[in-house]
């Protein structure tokens, strides 16, 4: 919300700044075009002066755009820090290390018996995971103490059969952010996917 109101303000100011710059450029161009009347020996001075003012206006606009992008990024980080402070933040990530035994379709997460995430993966997203991508499927706040995370995966297992597997994780939430990675990995010995839970420090 903070980011959106700030972006609205920038969107309102940007045309005004552009108009002001344009007015300055026009004033410069007018001054440059009147110069030959006073000094007929320098008629070509107006063209480079106009081009220079346009170039500086363009540079100003580019600089302003860069500033807006930088501010947007900072606001995004600030928004996350405000909504999910480090002392209560918990984030769950999904990654894959399979190809043969499990085609991922969806992930459902339950935290302390309450559904917090339900994500359907498209083919493109599943391919991205197979290529090493990591997906942040959930970010939220948790009080310090013991919590239970249940992850349910659905997909297609060996022989194109629909497959559903679950993993239950006991989370000990202390001070500081908690990051949990749920890795789906091939288990070639059993020809079954297995779910490895990893907590990041």
């Amino acid at each position: 919300m903070l980011r959106q109101s700030f972006l609205k303000t920038i969107a309102t100011l940007l045309p005004l700044l552009f108009a002001a710059g344009l007015a300055n450029a026009q004033a410069d161009a007018a001054a440059a075009t009147t110069a030959p009347l006073l000094d007929s020996s320098a008629p070509a001075a107006s063209a480079p002066a106009g081009a220079d003012s346009f170039k500086s206006l363009d540079e100003e606009v580019q600089a302003l755009k860069k500033e807006v992008l930088d501010l947007n990024r900072e606001l995004f980080v600030l928004e996350e820090e405000l909504l999910f402070p480090a002392n209560t933040q918990v984030a769950v990530f999904v990654s894959m290390d399979v190809g043969e035994f499990f085609a991922l379709d969806s992930v459902t997460l339950k935290l302390d018996d309450k559904e917090v995430a339900n994500y359907l993966y498209t083919e493109r997203e599943a391919q991205a995971l197979l290529k090493g991508g990591v997906h942040r499927v959930f970010i939220g706040n948790l009080k310090a103490g013991e919590h239970e995370l249940i992850a349910l995966f659905t997909g297609q297992g060996p022989n194109q059969r629909d497959y559903r597997r679950g993993a239950t994780i006991k989370l000990e939430k202390g001070v500081g952010a908690k990051y949990v990675e749920l890795k789906i990995s091939d288990k070639a010995v059993k020809a079954q996917p297995e779910f490895i839970v990893k907590e990041w420090e």
């Binding site: 379709d105 359907l120 993966y121 498209t122 083919e123 493109r124």
Partner: protein, 181 residues
């Protein structure tokens, strides 16, 4: 004695009630009855749903294309009338970059009937199922059928609630504008 010097009489209930109703409407109105037309000009809510063929489909993966989303249900008579006409529009403008998603809102117990209806109507566009009603809530699908047109930048540009003969002409006009942008 002038009117201003008279003691103020308490308001009658018949006068108090409309004021109370107005206050309740102002406070609760946005939560109770927000029309889908308010989505126009806003970014289209992203979603991912399972399709009739089994694959998952995500709206944001079609950024850069013009998307028409049609919400329907098996109990909706005008929906049955509209769907074959949408199929014609899809057949005509698909090659020009039109993407059409048909989102079914039947309950879990009626999904088999929904699948059967989609197969009977032989529509060629993807049919998606929103049994959890998350997408219909995001698009405020209160009136059926609901048709939403989204431009190449993911902004909702046109919303049509209900269906009457001739509405498909409006859809065609609007989507031609968007395809030409």
């Amino acid at each position: 004695m002038s009117q201003s010097s008279q003691a103020r009489l308490p308001l009658r209930a018949s006068v108090r009630l409309p004021r109370f109703a107005l206050l309740a409407l102002l406070l609760l109105g946005p939560a109770v009855c927000v029309p889908a037309s308010l989505l126009v000009g806003r970014p289209a809510p992203d979603f991912a749903l399972r399709s009739l063929e089994g694959a998952n489909v995500r709206l944001s993966e079609h950024s850069g294309e013009v998307v028409l989303i049609n919400f329907w249900a098996t109990w909706c008579g005008p929906c049955r009338q509209e769907m074959p006409l949408l199929d014609e529009i899809y057949g005509k403008y698909r090659r020009a970059g039109l993407v059409l998603f048909s989102v079914n809102l039947d309950e879990e117990k009626d999904l088999a009937a929904a699948r059967e209806m989609a197969k009977t109507l032989r529509v060629s566009y993807p049919v998606l199922f929103d049994a959890r009603k998350e997408v219909s809530r995001a698009y405020q699908a209160g009136t059926m059928p609901l048709t939403v047109l989204i431009d190449r930048e993911g902004v909702v540009r046109y919303v049509s609630e209900g269906y009457k003969v001739g509405y498909e002409t409006r859809y065609t006009e609007k989507l031609r504008e968007l395809l030409n942008e």
